[in-house]
């Protein structure tokens, strides 16, 4: 880029910030209402992300790991993955469809076999970890035969007991094999449902927090990155804040006027 245009090379960091600020404001224009500017930037983002992914799939994966060894180093056996991959498309040719089934069956077998490893390493360790001690005890010293077990305080024991109760109640909610008529089962299932509701509430709260964190990042960018580049680190953020307030004031005046017209 330096050879192509020294000016462009110097201006690139500033251009990046300007483009970033324009894109951010363009995307947030949807807060007023759905509009063409928002649609434009949305399509630019989608196109960029997809194009970037496709380009990197070639430059970072296929080119160094497949094409170069195949073409430059003569590793001819690397042609087989291509042939096997192309066999998937034989599904469109009725007479040769059986070949595609062979390939699909082969990979289905691999995936099914791998599922055992997934269960062993992912789910299985969580089962013994669910059996927690519910009685407080002192530390058990380390011996040659058994490892040390740390002490369990009263508060931790209570926490574990609460965990066990919730675990059993939530699991009982998912007993669908027989009608839940027994009062104990009915009660535990109901408590389990309540616990699930609390969990969904916590997840929803976390989602709100996540979305606000993204907004915070964009405002931080507009004020402290873009603002500092435009007007310096002291006045830039303040100018950007003033500009944001002006934009919002204009938008809200428009909203208020429209509401008045509708009322009239």
């Amino acid at each position: 880029m330096t050879e192509f245009s020294p000016w462009l090379a110097r201006a690139t960091p500033h251009l990046i910030l300007w483009i970033g600020a324009l894109c951010t404001l363009g995307m947030y224009s949807v807060l007023y209402r759905e509009n063409r500017l928002y649609r434009l930037f949305e399509h630019i983002f989608l196109g960029l992300a997809t194009g970037y992914g496709v380009a990197l799939a070639w430059t970072d994966v296929l080119l160094p790991l497949w094409w170069k060894p195949l073409w430059n180093k003569g590793e001819w056996w690397l042609i087989f993955p291509l042939v096997v991959g192309l066999c998937y498309y034989l599904v469109y040719f009725p007479k040769l469809r059986w070949i595609s089934r062979l390939v699909i069956g082969f990979f289905l077998g691999i995936t099914a076999g791998r599922a055992f490893q997934v269960f062993a390493n992912d789910t299985w360790p969580q089962i013994p970890a669910s059996f927690k001690p519910v009685l407080p005890h002192a530390a058990i010293a380390k011996t040659a035969a058994s490892p040390a077990i740390p002490a369990l305080s009263g508060a931790d024991a209570l926490n574990n007991a609460l965990f066990m109760v919730i675990l059993v109640c939530v699991m009982s909610y998912f007993f669908f094999s027989f009608p839940q008529k027994h009062p104990v089962l009915k009660g535990s299932a109901k408590l389990g449902r309540w616990m699930l509701m609390f969990t969904f509430g916590a997840i929803f709260g976390s989602t709100v927090m996540a979305r606000l964190a993204l907004l915070t990042d964009r405002i931080d960018f507009l004020l402290n990155d873009f603002g500092a580049d435009v007007g310096g680190s002291v006045w830039g953020p303040k100018i950007m804040l003033a500009l944001l307030i002006v934009i919002m004031a204009v938008v809200l005046t428009l909203v208020a006027r429209k509401a008045d017209i509708v009322e009239e």
Partner: protein, 281 residues
């Protein structure tokens, strides 16, 4: 008044929210937030590693979750550099992860006297659909599986990879992600190689990860930007998360206030309607 509150145009709320987020950037209010157990555990885990230990660092995020995953990546990389740990960066979930993580490592390397290829390396991006196969192979043979770094250099020839042959040679695996990519690490690397693993995840994904934390499959976790904020306090630095912390708190206060106001107005309106219908009868 009650009707106005019930039918308030949402754009007024958006404006209030933007102000609630923007204004705190101009106030320097010191806030001390006690670190949660999951943050504390991750900090202790990295602190316990001797200098020169090797960490595999997954940067599985893109610009879409930059607000949360970037401060997390920054604090963790700074802590690793402070502890003089070697690390390899890799991305699966999104090709942007490769570039974003490279930028962060390059940004801090001179501050901590780090050199690319000697103290850290970026293995680049590998397609997400092949993550499981890649990790399975990595557990057996790191150097052949990793192949080349982002500059095209053979990973096996780099000084940073000295003594690293199989997945068991890793001292820690960290995945910073806005996806479920960390599960593949648990299934095909952490579990089989018995290597400790930690996670930095978006607040949306965090509730799903708590069971892994409880079972010990994860040694620690950063929960959203809040986790990064706590971690910055542990490190004694003021970075992006600290800057965002006050804004986030104000935004939460505004939302809680609006929820209370909206529901209060609804309840009062219902009471008024009941009274009105009682008077008529």
């Amino acid at each position: 008044m009650l009707k106005v509150m019930q039918n308030l145009d949402r754009r007024y709320l958006y404006a209030l929210l933007i102000l609630a987020v923007a204004l705190p950037f101009f106030f320097n209010v010191p806030m001390t937030v006690p670190a949660t157990q999951s943050t504390e555990s991750l900090y202790d885990k990295i602190e316990s590693l001797p200098a020169g230990s090797f960490v595999l660092f997954g940067g599985d995020w893109s610009a879409g979750t930059r607000g949360e995953n970037r401060p997390q990546s920054e604090v963790l990389i700074r802590h690793m550099m402070r502890k003089k740990l070697r690390f390899a960066l890799i991305a699966f979930a999104d090709p942007q992860g490769k570039t974003l993580m490279q930028d962060i490592a390059v940004q801090f390397q001179s501050q901590y006297g780090y050199r690319e290829g000697v103290d850290w390396v970026n293995w680049g991006w590998r397609v997400a659909s092949g993550q499981e196969n890649f990790l399975k192979a990595l557990a057996q043979d790191v150097l052949t599986t990793a192949g080349t770094d982002i500059h095209g250099a053979q990973v096996a020839t780099l000084p940073v990879m000295q003594g690293i042959r199989t997945g068991r040679d890793f001292s820690l695996i960290i995945d910073v992600t806005g996806t479920a990519s960390y599960q593949a690490y648990i299934q095909f690397l952490q579990g089989p190689c018995k290597v400790p693993m930690a996670l930095g995840t978006t607040a949306v994904m965090a509730p799903e990860a708590f069971n892994y934390l409880d079972s010990g499959q994860l040694s620690g976790m950063l929960n959203g930007v809040q986790g990064a904020y706590e971690y910055e306090q542990k490190l004694g630095i003021e970075g992006r998360a600290t800057r965002a912390g006050l804004s986030l708190s104000f935004a939460h206060l505004l939302i809680i206030g609006m929820i209370l106001l909206g529901n209060g107005a609804m309840l009062m309106e219902r009471r008024q309607q009941k009274r009105a219908s009682g008077d008529r009868s």
